[in-house]
């Protein structure tokens, strides 16, 4: 724990709106549901322990199908402005972001905006992972109209993407627990100005910029 965090700080910077936090946590719940049911379905010895394969399969399929719903809902109302703004921030990378990622946070730290390159990479991966898993999962589940080799190919993609996702999500959760103020910001929406200045200097103090 960093010394400055022991002193009383108030969470005085708004970081995420309610809609953004809902988007994050509903998606997180669906991803975790799919990850856990998928692991049990995939690992034979776990399947044998849990049985109820039919139920697990249904939960896995429906949680998967529901995965784009929070994103659609996040864009469906007046709350979309903040969402759209952060999506744009996550999607655009500066040269400094690339340097920051290459040096794992040692270089270009003073130019990190609202999101660092790790957060941007994580968001992009999840944004790509969900449609890939939806399409391949659908081919596995409703295979009738597709050639046999597509079914094998979809299984291949679904399996490997799942394995990579397990590592990405586990890393994401570990880093979140390693940075309690960042985790708190995703729960309560606010973070201390001190933490914001130290970790997001390109954003702190000028929350209206697109950094």
């Amino acid at each position: 724990m960093v010394a400055t965090e022991v002193t009383e700080t108030t969470d005085d910077v708004e970081r995420f709106t309610g809609a953004e936090r809902a988007l994050h946590w509903v998606t997180a719940a669906l991803v975790l549901t799919c990850a856990i049911t998928g692991l049990i379905l995939y690992v034979g010895s776990l399947s044998a322990l849990v049985s109820r394969r039919d139920l697990l399969k249904h939960v896995h399929v429906y949680a998967g199908l529901a995965m784009p719903v929070p994103m659609i809902a996040a864009y469906a109302g007046h709350w979309r402005d903040a969402v759209r703004k952060d999506v744009r921030r996550l999607a655009r990378w500066t040269k400094a972001d690339k340097r920051w990622l290459r040096t794992r946070g040692r270089a270009a730290h003073d130019q990190v905006g609202k999101f660092n390159a790790g957060q941007k990479a994580n968001a992009a991966f999840i944004a790509g992972m969900i449609p890939v898993m939806l399409v391949t999962g659908s081919i596995m589940r409703w295979f009738d109209p597709f050639p046999l080799s597509w079914r094998s190919g979809a299984t291949f993609v679904h399996d490997w993407t799942a394995i990579v996702t397990w590592f990405v999500v586990a890393g994401h959760i570990l880093i979140a627990f390693g940075n309690p103020p960042a985790l708190r910001a995703m729960i309560k929406g606010r973070m201390s100005e001190d933490f914001a200045r130290r970790h997001h200097p390109g954003w702190a103090g000028s929350p209206d910029t697109d950094a």
Binding site: V43, G128, T136, L148, S149, S152, G205
Partner: protein
């Protein structure tokens, strides 16, 4: 994010954001990552089967000699995947299990699991090859050859095929009599040196070694000897486009598979 000591030393008086005149130039890396994943995913759907088969061949020396068993968690390692066509795995206890053999036979037969085990057992150690690409090498099987059962019931003249039913209520299969009389086609009650478990089609399943896995019907319920086979009766997957004669390496467009 990485906490490093340098930051802590800075203390609460962290430097203010640098003053900028122009926003820094950005590139749409996020979009590239997403589109790149779509491209990889589409490639994988179209060519994944070939990639998978190749990787599996490379890895086989490793996975076959892995004492930890961890490599079996990889998608390309030799392990069974459980498929069933119904919503739940069918269940039948050892005591209530019955195998029925009827149709064009002289002496129809209903066998309990104990009856089956009392008959001449045959052991095989052979691969299980699925038509979707995965293969489990050197699986030990134990059961009664169909040819022995057919001899026992006495097949009537003119019979040509077997129609085979699963007690899951949906899955069916078929074999010609010649195929069924091979010495590597059995009603198996043991696999991998233990009873055939429920998920693998226990208590008794079919094992048709020279053909793709969908011929090895699980939860074997009834074998009917018939004198003709309509296309619509050829089997669950056959009706859905799979080959009826499912020889490994010579059917379903999978020429590369090594024969069992």
């Amino acid at each position: 994010m990485v906490e490093h000591p340098l930051e802590a030393d800075r203390g609460p008086a962290a430097p203010k954001a640098p003053v900028r005149t122009d926003p820094p130039a950005t590139s749409p890396v996020g979009r590239r990552i997403v589109l790149g994943m779509f491209g990889l995913g589409a490639t994988g759907i179209l060519f994944g089967q070939k990639i998978h088969d190749t990787v599996e061949r490379w890895l086989r020396p490793v996975t076959e000699n892995d004492p930890t068993g961890l490599s079996t968690l990889l998608p390309t390692s030799g392990r069974f995947r459980i498929y069933s066509v119904t919503n739940s795995l069918p269940s039948k206890g050892d005591a209530e299990y019955r195998l029925k053999i009827d149709g064009l036979v002289d002496r129809p037969l209903i066998l309990s699991l104990a009856d089956l085990k009392a008959r001449k057992a045959t052991k095989l150690v052979k691969d299980f090859q699925c038509v979707t690409g995965w293969r489990v090498p050197d699986v030990p099987w134990k059961g009664v050859l169909l040819r022995d059962l057919l001899d026992e019931v006495g097949v009537k003249k003119g019979a040509t095929h077997l129609r085979i039913y699963s007690f899951d209520g949906a899955y069916t299969e078929s074999l010609t009599l010649d195929q069924a009389r091979r010495r590597d086609v059995m009603a198996a009650y043991e696999m991998e040196d233990g009873p055939v478990t429920q998920e693998h089609g226990g208590p008794v399943r079919l094992y048709v070694a020279p053909m793709y896995g969908y011929k090895s019907l699980k939860w074997l319920d009834r074998i009917e000897v018939v004198n003709h086979l309509d296309e619509k009766d050829a089997g669950y997957w056959e009706v859905r486009g799979y080959d009826t004669d499912a020889w490994i390496g010579e059917s379903n467009g999978r020429e590369g598979d090594e024969k069992v």
